[in-house]
């Protein structure tokens, strides 16, 4: 019974006008929540937390680097779940959402790579190190770019979405393997990995801003996902009646 309700609910959401309305209502709230959490987190991260005794102030980069990295990976998980739903039940809105997750995930991966590289400069003395985390993030960026490129290369967007969903699932199996192999590779080649955190365990005052920032990035991802999906839906359905009606009402 519950299963049935969930399925019916999904199909209701699968209706483009319903989904469009949902996105329009929910996305601004998510953005607002993200802004509040980020403001909170950033204030704490920049003013309240004392400098680390080993890394001094440079560890503050952690508060954007780590949430972005986690979100880049969590975003991929979200896309995988959506891809499974899209492939099994062929619900169009989930296909679209799975596809629109890719550019956002890529953006977070980019944040992670850029801030990681900036952090590396004072800590390791180089902009880039073949560190396990950075390397697997770089590969993840290519996975995201592959998904985006594949989807964009199809004229029939539904077909493109389904093909790219297969790629998402292949990547889901592949990403842990990449991560593991890269980690192994760097430990073999470097003797010991360079650790961001050094010996010091995190001070208890360092945690709350991180949590706030993690929540903020989650909300940002959700909001951006809904925003982009809404646009994609309108673009695909531009000749359909419901878009015309909506436009007529707003014009």
């Amino acid at each position: 019974m519950i299963w049935h309700n969930i399925k019916v609910g999904f199909h209701r959401l699968g209706s483009p006008p319903v989904f469009h309305r949902l996105c329009r209502v929910v996305a601004p709230w998510l953005w607002a929540g993200a802004a509040i959490c980020a403001a909170f987190g950033l204030y704490k991260a920049l003013y309240l937390v004392p400098p680390d005794y080993q890394q001094s102030d440079s560890f503050r980069i952690l508060y954007v680097h780590v949430p972005a990295a986690w979100q880049a990976m969590a975003g991929y998980l979200v896309m995988s779940v959506l891809a499974v739903i899209a492939l099994v039940w062929r619900i169009r809105t989930t296909e679209i959402m799975a596809m629109m997750g890719a550019p956002i995930g890529a953006a977070f991966t980019l944040i992670c790579l850029a801030t990681g590289s900036i952090w590396g400069r004072p800590m390791w003395g180089t902009w880039w190190a073949w560190d396990a985390r950075l390397t697997s993030m770089l590969v993840l960026l290519f996975v995201y770019l592959g998904i985006m490129g594949l989807y964009a290369a199809f004229e029939d967007k539904r077909k493109g979405a389904r093909v790219a969903c297969i790629l998402i699932l292949v990547g889901l199996v592949n990403i842990p393997i990449i991560h593991f192999s890269v980690e192994w590779w760097t430990t073999l080649h470097q003797g010991s990995t360079i650790s961001f955190f050094g010996e010091s365990s995190m001070d208890s005052s360092m945690m709350p801003p991180l949590i706030w920032m993690v929540i903020a990035t989650k909300l940002m991802f959700g909001a951006a996902l809904l925003d982009r999906s809404r646009n994609e839906l309108i673009e695909q359905d531009r000749r359909k009646g419901w878009v015309r009606q909506k436009l007529g009402a707003s014009a």
């Binding site: 592959g146 490129g149 290369a153 297969i166 199996v173 890269v182 073999l188």
Partner: protein
């Protein structure tokens, strides 16, 4: 069922022989790399033997990539690909057959000439057997990965750039484990762990990739 697979294999190989030039490409490529690399980095034995595993493997990878354009595309264009779905043989098996012939054309020559390559790049003799074993396990993986990527991009008209972007993340672990094995053997260490992981990857790929490839082909065939 096996009759159909054998028929397909036979036809693929016959076509490969008939386009003699194209099927020699992997070898030409391997030797181009083997000659150009010493010219580029200098003939010093130390440097060459250090980069030998990587060079042989990159040559194998690129040789496999070269032939991917012709893996499914000609069959799509002349209508023979759609016939795969009209018969009684599961398409996954036909996909495996096609990948096997791709491996015979691109992977096997590299394996056969790997000892020559190893000599030219001063790979220590004790690493030679590991190099061959790593190629034996790893080149089928390259064919499987390439097959998946070319099936995914079959329905697009600008496949080749996309193909490389899709393949890159997938081959990272293969390259790491394979070259790791050869380097370990060259340093006189055991390559068992690397080769074991590589075999695990192969088993995983053999079970999953034909499924994904078949699904992608089906979507792209119209």
């Amino acid at each position: 069922m096996t009759r159909a697979m054998l028929a397909l294999l036979r036809r693929d190989l016959r076509l490969a022989v008939r386009h003699g030039g194209e099927s020699l490409m992997p070898l030409v490529f391997l030797f181009a790399v083997l000659i150009l690399v010493p010219l580029g980095v200098g003939p010093g034995p130390n440097l060459l033997s250090a980069i030998a595993p990587g060079m042989v493997w990159v040559a194998a990878l690129l040789a496999s990539l070269l032939a991917l354009e012709h893996l499914f595309r000609p069959d799509l264009d002349d209508g023979t690909l759609e016939q795969w779905w009209t018969g009684e043989t599961p398409v996954g098996l036909l996909v495996m057959t096609r990948l096997f012939s791709h491996w015979l054309i691109t992977g096997l020559p590299v394996i056969v000439f790997a000892p020559v390559a190893a000599q030219m790049l001063y790979l220590p003799d004790r690493a030679l057997s590991t190099l061959v074993v790593s190629l034996l396990i790893g080149t089928p993986l390259l064919s499987l990965i390439g097959g998946l990527a070319s099936a995914l991009t079959l329905g697009t008209n600008r496949g080749s750039v996309l193909l490389s972007i899709l393949i890159f993340p997938l081959v990272v672990p293969v390259l790491i484990f394979a070259t790791g094995a050869v380097s370990a053997a060259a340093d006189g260490l055991s390559a068992r762990a690397h080769l074991g992981l590589l075999s695990a990857l192969l088993i995983l790929a053999v079970t999953l990739i034909p499924l994904a490839t078949t699904a992608a082909l089906r979507l792209n065939i119209e």
